[in-house]
Amino acid sequence: MERKKVVIVGNGMVGNKFCEKLKQKINDLEIIVFSEEPIRAYDRVHLTDYFKISSIDELFLLKNEWYLENNVKIHLDDPIVAVNRLKKEVESQKGITVNYDYLVFATGSAPFVPPIPGIEKEGVFLYRTIEDLDLIKAYAAKAKRGTVMGGGLLGLEAAKAMVDLGLEETAVIEFAQRLMPRQIDDSASMLLQQKLSELGLTCLLQKSTSQLLGDDRLTGIAFQDGSSIETDLLVISAGIRPRDELAKKIGLDVGERGGILVNAQMQTSDPVVYAIGECALVNDMIYGLVAPGYEMAEIAASHIVGEEKSFKGFDMSTKLKLMGVDVASFGDAFISEPYARTILLEDRNKGIYKRLNVSKDGTRLLGGILVGEAASYNMLLQMVNNSLPLAEHPELLLLGQQSESKSASAGLEALPDAALICSCEGVTKAQICDAVITGHCENADAVKKCTKAGSGCGGCVPMVKDLVNYTMKQQGKYIRSTICEHFDLSRQELYDLIKIHELKSYDHVLDALGRGHGCEVCKPLVSSLLASLWNEMILGKGNDVAQDSNDRYLANIQKGGTYSVVPRIPGGEITPDKLIVIGEVAKKYSLYTKITGGQRIDLFGAHLNDLPFIWEELIAAGFESGHAYGKALRTVKSCVGSTWCRFGLHDSVSFAIRIEERYRGLRAPHKIKSAVSGCIRECAEAQSKDFGIIATEKGWNLYVCGNGGSKPQHALLLASDIDSETCIRYIDRFLMFYIRTADPLTRTATWLNKMEGGIDYLRNVVVEDGLGMGEAWEQDMQLLVDSYRCEWKVAVENPEIRKRFVHFVNAPEEKDETVRFDSFRGQKKAADWNVSTY
């Protein structure tokens, strides 16, 4: 029997998905694809990434071999120009004719180009295909000012890309009175505008363009209100128009405002002809998103193989995917009184706007808008889509992540099995849980491989992760964090074993407790444990090659391969003479100098070869290593305190110096920072540190487990009104407890957050000595304090170690000639990465 033939017009995202789905369902069909574009289907959703990536390979949706292996014939760069529906035959531009049993239109859409005088000028671009982006990129190189017409999702994405391309000024013009008019309301738009201007984007609203200016080349835009702007480049993103021209020509029914009319099975007015994706008009709607397009592909493919499925409409919720700008809109975003109750949260200071629309009886969430903070988007969307009952105080949903994460597992539990988690690939909660339970997928990547969830727009990945963890916990699976393929142990187990066996080098540890040859995960971890336990010079015993890069050269590596030099300046106190030495050294070795956020001075841009010489001079002047490169004590900041300050209760500088000198060089699971403030005004910011000390009338208050960084957290009070000796004893215990039990690369704040019993338990261990370890830990600490030596002093004095600080072993005098600097405000800076970033 002759095999039936399916011809597909268009190899965009949806046409491609259709091929894949059809192949999965049935094998004895002949599939022939015609594509207008010169390359096979790529990920249009991530088109903008094309500016950043090195090759288009990363964007292709299927490997080239897929088409070959599956026997799907694809004609690139050859659009269909005619169809004879009586003979069931298509004809391509290059003159190929093929007959079909089923014909599928997946012709997508084209950007709408408004009929404005001057639109044909050089410098006007669209934003839809790889070719468009190539043209824009080439033109942007000589342009200064860019403008995007249209402030919708796509327009904003294009505009951000202009900024990233390095255009000096970028503006968005929008006809409506707000940005993203179809997704968000006026207040949300105001906040969004503010965020975008921080990114360097100007927004011009309520602007209707009357004319494009310039002779052949675009030079500006005139508006109907009489104003105008200058611009060299214009990207049009004013909406889309379905590509229905061919369908219209061959007499298929199309909608009044465009789009190929289809029924719920995706059949056009000719039952053997289907239309899917952005060219299809279904339920009076054009769906301009990829997820509904994939659903249409599924339905059409099912129908062809005789399964009955129908298109039931699709959720149009979206999240803007610009770095640094969280905007999401879901469900019915605009419904308001009297049809719903609106709950609003607006924090202009933090730049957060949230709106939730709740049913009048307060039982269900109908939709909403999030700007500035959209971490809860996935969960809220699920609540809408699955009509989950609302708790008594829906306003709590507006609060930040903390309250959400507590309710996260309750939320996941409430989701029905059929809840669609990944709408691009149509993966449900049940399928993901099943992948974890029966498919033994233990992380989001494994689930992605097994179910494809998260491989489309990627928006659901955080939720997939939560689901994996939730399911594993439900299964009673102990999430035991072993180190890597070389050590089947947790960090704490390894710590205890190294201590018991008194192992002192990485190789000995690997031979005794591990297998294989180590890697970049276990080497630094073991090195850190060895340092925490024995405090021997970290570059000795062949351990240098097991140190993280910065530790190995006792300096932080920078762009270009040079290093920074950070001498310790305890408590931030420094004499004029020492300042002069730093200045002289910096001048001699031509280093960029900067006051750091940690109250000391960083000297950047040192060649590897120069490091020992620089340190030799600094050490001679009484400096020592600041361990800015190590997972070790960094700085103990101080405020000026009672020696000068009229409010100072105690001498905070002296105490800070004492603390810094006690714990200098102490290696830990992560870096540790401290500060001492002379009174409750807290000028040293002690409450943002791993341990912070604040003077009181009667002594010191000791705070622990604070953190700056990306998730700032205030430190918690551990003990109050204690004297200096007690304070130091508590810190000894606190630090040893942390060093012994924290996971690798875990700051004290995160360590505490994971600790059962929290601060009360910690207080019990440290202050009340609940584990009876207090004395032992104080002794351990004293051992480390007594064995301290400045690493740099050892390094410059030991010829074996010192000789490693060269770039070429066979030309030790020569510096790396590829290192480049640019001059910058009277100093220098590292030249940019050697590759273009787009």
Partner: protein, 115 residues
Amino acid sequence: MNTQIDMKWLKACRIEDAIENGGVCLKLNNEQVALFYFARRNEWYATQNECPHKRQMILSRGMLGSLGETPKVACPFHKKTFALDTGECLSGDECAIKTYPVKVENGSVFIGMTA
């Protein structure tokens, strides 16, 4: 194998100049070459010194390790890893690095390069 024809063994350094279980950088033929002595496996490898990710002259300062049986080096900058035997990138899609043959004779290390 045409490439074999014009390959020359260039003297790189003495064995003791190399670092056990680590890398050193050499200037050979006006190129920067990273030489690794994987002492735990008693194997020698040479590759280009430039990391293809951000084109940094740095791989010789990278950390050695193994992935299953494959010997690898991790770049100090962003920890992309590359197989030392084939040069293949083991993390993500960076392009592969060049590798060169190494031999050790009479206490000296030689690297095979085409002129």
